[in-house]
Symmetry: C2
Subunit: 343 residues, 2 copies
Amino acid sequence: MKHNITVYDIAKEAEVSVSTVSRVLNGTAPVKESTREKIMALINKYQFQPNALARSLTKKETKMIGVILPDITNPFFPEVFWGVENEANSKGYTFFLCNTSGQPELESQSLTILREKQVDGIIFMGGRINLSNCSQELAKEVEDIAKKIPIVLVNGNLPDSSLHRVIINEGKGAEMLTQHLIDLGHKEIAFFGGYDYVSTTTQKVKAFKKTMKANGLKVSNDWVLYGDFSMDAGKKLMADILKREKRPTAIFCVNDVTAVGAVKVAVEAGLKIPEDMAIVGFDDTILASTVIPELTTVSQKSLELGKNAVNVLHKLINNEKVKKVTVIEPELIIRDSTLPKSR
Amino acid sequence: MKHNITVYDIAKEAEVSVSTVSRVLNGTAPVKESTREKIMALINKYQFQPNALARSLTKKETKMIGVILPDITNPFFPEVFWGVENEANSKGYTFFLCNTSGQPELESQSLTILREKQVDGIIFMGGRINLSNCSQELAKEVEDIAKKIPIVLVNGNLPDSSLHRVIINEGKGAEMLTQHLIDLGHKEIAFFGGYDYVSTTTQKVKAFKKTMKANGLKVSNDWVLYGDFSMDAGKKLMADILKREKRPTAIFCVNDVTAVGAVKVAVEAGLKIPEDMAIVGFDDTILASTVIPELTTVSQKSLELGKNAVNVLHKLINNEKVKKVTVIEPELIIRDSTLPKSR
DNA sequence: GTGAAAGCGCTAACAA
DNA sequence: TTGTTAGCGCTTTCAC
């Protein structure tokens, strides 16, 4: 492997000092036109590219952002990432992606790596920040790192935390969905999916129950059925419900994937959706519009979420003032799974 | 901002030299047990973490891999990435993700950035490496960089290239799908979607035609309908076909998303699938199993693809011998969109 | 076992 | 305008 070309090599051949080369590279000070040209010619000739490691080492900034998320194969996260990237590219940032499967150890590990790599900031999604009761220890770890590196939490929170957050108003979304079903005349509504110790689930359930009560309707605990966040959960829970004597007329699923599972089993059992049973999802991922019938759901505004996260982070990095919490309003998306097309 | 803690700080407080600290950090040489303990205590006390930039600068290795892909919101790519990550994490690598939308300029830019950041290797997917006639210039750019940084192309190629590649046998997949349809008795088959200048499309079309011919069947050019790779393409093309007097009895779609679009329009028009029309996709993404009816498709073995890419890259990085091309065999996945459940 | 010192490639005072 | 030089934080000979 031959010696990589450096500013010294360029400087030497151009018969100038390294600082002059650095100046034309960064435009930090005026350089005589003739020497600038000479240097540029050499840079092109050798396809010289400055070593970002060395640069970052002295400048104490890397222009790298770390993104921690639980599952890149869940369509929701790529969409947020896409929003992040769009917004941050123009600001010159690049990304480290860390997939954690939501496991605390992997999150800790990612945090460590990102710190070692000296990223300028971290965007944290999923895992511990969605636990309805996250341990002090896990929370403190994040808090400690945040003292050294700006962190923004996306769609989550930490106990007693003072960290900056960008969140969607999930309760509001759940309320809209529930009200929509009630307005259509549904009185018997069940809830499907999600772990009961994860805030994404509990917030929805809470808003769901509250909205039902506000409309003078009861929610039987028999009809709040937890599971995980997969398609299988939806399938199993629907199969379970179909065996019962008394069935709900509508199902509120924790997310789109679970809703798809529910739809599939219901359709196979010969039910018509929404006539025999209305089903709603949450997230408005691509799945919601590929199923038949298309799902009524709530958009999490994934792009917005990503964009805002970057903006907050960017301000944090530059020591600008930002409000602690940025709340994004969800949007109700009404489709065929609650309203038959023919209407 | 207070001064970040360094090896010097640790060394000073432990009353040893920095080299000793470095030794315990890396285990590169024996250190007396008592001094090691003293140092470790300090490291824990201050939560010291070595600066990876400085380390990489001297070691000339970053343990970072750059991943270039066209569209992270297309479910296929997160799956490959997942495979990449699983395999590479254990080897200690971390990832830079670059989304290019398939635009050559963004690819060039990503390549530049990755070089500046001194990544140890690059995994390249999508964009120019899928063009059926990529310009010399674009190809050369990649080739030039490959002289300095190991690169592996995933599911693509470059003209006259000698780069290492990991690919799925797409032609074989298309052949299996076509043969499957023929075996079911279909004689009138159309092809939907994809740009005609992208190899992912042309390879399939080629294999499709060849298999048809081998079975003594004709393919009318009227029935090879290009588009893009979206759901909309499938919708439009199906709408187009349904207007015609003579209709095919089966449709081969360039990928799952397009197939979903086709299914939706067909179902809305009152057709039964597969009885009135069989439809197949390609990729076996999550979409294939969420649609009703579930899609017969070909698995691209995205995980395998990712894993193998990393393995090849890793060997390249370590100057080990690897064969130029790794071919992964696709798998035919038969589901309801060609075979009715009742059978 | 341990320390001194050079060097990785770049930027940024400070001087000239 | 331009050059000199001192770091940035770490690893790694080479001595001892």
